[in-house]
Amino acid sequence: MRLQRRLHPDRSRRADHFRLRDAFAEATAGVGARTGRLLLTVLGTVLGIAAVVVTVGLAQTGANRINERFDAVAARHASAEPATREDAWGQSRALAELPRDAPERALRIAGVRAAATVSKVDIGDATITAVSVHDPSAPTRAVPTVMATSADLLEAVGGHLAQGRYFDCGHDGRGDRVAVLGVDAAERLGIGGVATLPSVFIDDHPYQVIGILDATDRRTALLSSVIIPQGTAEADFGLVAPQAMEMLIEVGSGPVVNDQLATSLAPTNPQTIKVATPGRPSAVQQAIQSELVVVFLALGGVALLIGGVGIANVTLLSVMERSGEIGLRRALGARRRDVAVQFVIESVIVGTLGGLIGAALGVAVVAAVSFVRQWTPILDLRMVIGAAAAGALVGLLAGLYPATRAARMEPVAALRAGL
């Protein structure tokens, strides 16, 4: 073989001999010439792909509905903090620090809608009062805690302000002395509202109160805290790094966040960050694993298999019917390989068509069912694209055997068939 190549160097190098482009054109024409049969050929694949899309789509939609109803908060909340380890003295020590820009990094991950850091501020012996003059005769009250957060806290923890507003990036960046009071802290400090532009004093430094937080889904401790910007805590109290991050994420994006967040926060040592996302054995997975879904997926798989066998059968039939054409192509100088490639591509085209039609049909069914039940349909685009690709794969596998049969035909015998 080697020797032959060397003896005839130009034989294998044929300029513009039946390129992939030509094979595609010929295959498309071959498929297009038999549109009536095409519909029958793709039917099995269409049904198989549609069944899988409908099953997974309804499972996702249904799971989302469960989440919406029973655990709307849990399904959308995630948090991250440094992992800890007990040291020799039994003290738990953080293995890492969260970076200052942790929220920005988190927002780059698909599915993260809002993120904010939350830290408890150590103010030492400092006192917190609502008036500047320290009055030793006043009754001592429980001192509220001081917390520091970044600007987007409200969205990240599902908080709600009774009055005023939350501080923004500007306050945070400049280290402005502003504060938002949890509703319990406000009551303890005797501050009724922000209209009078009150201040709280931490160790005689005034912090202007700009808002009152009266509810939050997460971190209810905030309600009894004086909340100041992260940057302010760094400047005034030497806060080194954020202690934790709270996030609002999209339903179903928990696994993605789980996969990516730690690496994003600590690229070299992702295991030093502890990420908590909606527990993966969630309604989503349970629904997918439920028996009904398994049965449907199995049916879809069987339909796909039948679809593949259908394509293989029809392609084989068409190879036999078209032996005259194959003989002609061989007589015109087609190599066995050229013939095989053409038939494989024809089969892939048929499979892809089946996959596309099946995916479209499946999406339509999921949308229709959701509409009737008044659910929000959830369809992973990747799943739909994957379904179409699965059709192409079915076509490819189904085409291999018929294509080798076509390639093996002897030109003389094939030509005798006529076309």
């Binding site: 073989m1 032959q4 005839h8 160097p9 130009d10 034989r11 294998s12 044929r14 300029a15 513009d16 001999h17 039946f18 390129r19 030509d22 010929e26 024409a29 297009g32 010439a33 038999r34 005259g324 054409e325 003989g327 002609l328 192509r329 061989r330 007589a331 015109l332 100088g333 087609a334 190599r335 066995r336 050229d338 002897e410 030109p411 003389v412 030509l415 006529g418 076309l419």
Partner: protein, 246 residues
Amino acid sequence: MKLFGLPDNSDNQGDQDPRWTSDQPVLSLRGVTREFPGTPPVHALGATNLDVRAGEYLAVAGPSGSGKSTLLNQLGLLDRPTAGEYWLRGVPTATAPEQVRTTLRAQRIGFVFQAFHLMPHRSVLDNVLLATLYSGTPRGERRDRALRALDRVGLSHRVEFMPPNLSGGERQRVAIARAVVTIPDVLLADEPTGNLDSTSSSGVMDLFDELHHDGLTLVVITHDPTVAARAGRRVHITDGYLREVA
């Protein structure tokens, strides 16, 4: 040789023996034999010696089952001999790799069949273009060549037609255009007029005469004596044995 104003492709291809020159036979068979295994085996072609020179017009006649198609399949590299050697433009082919035979077939040989062998769902132009897909014709030249070949056979007005809408004579002329679009050295025709009435037949034969005049080498199988009479050289085949007819 110049077919419809296009030079042949002998200069730019590397598939010929450098020792071959155009005054030597284009086709040369020595002891070429074809047996079909079976009980008893069929001796379709006995040890055959045949030389065909460039520009020759050879008619092969003989009764049914005498081995005419078997011979043509050998000449066209569609089938391998059981014994013997066959040189095409000086290249030995009997035991050459499939790749070599396929390339020679694509570039050196044009076929015309009795049953036309046109693809029914493809236009006349597409049918002619089909041959250029496998011959290494540069993509940019394919269409122009196909149109010229169709013009050469007088079918410029049928370019977008579908073969089922053509007459038998027109179909065979499309097939001839497809056979010559690659500028082959040899045109092999197996009963090209077998399915045609006498008018269409003589149209096809006139076309062969013209191509012969342009320098094309032709080997035409026929039982029709008037067709055979057009050829410059005639051989007769009986029971697989070839005999020159004076």
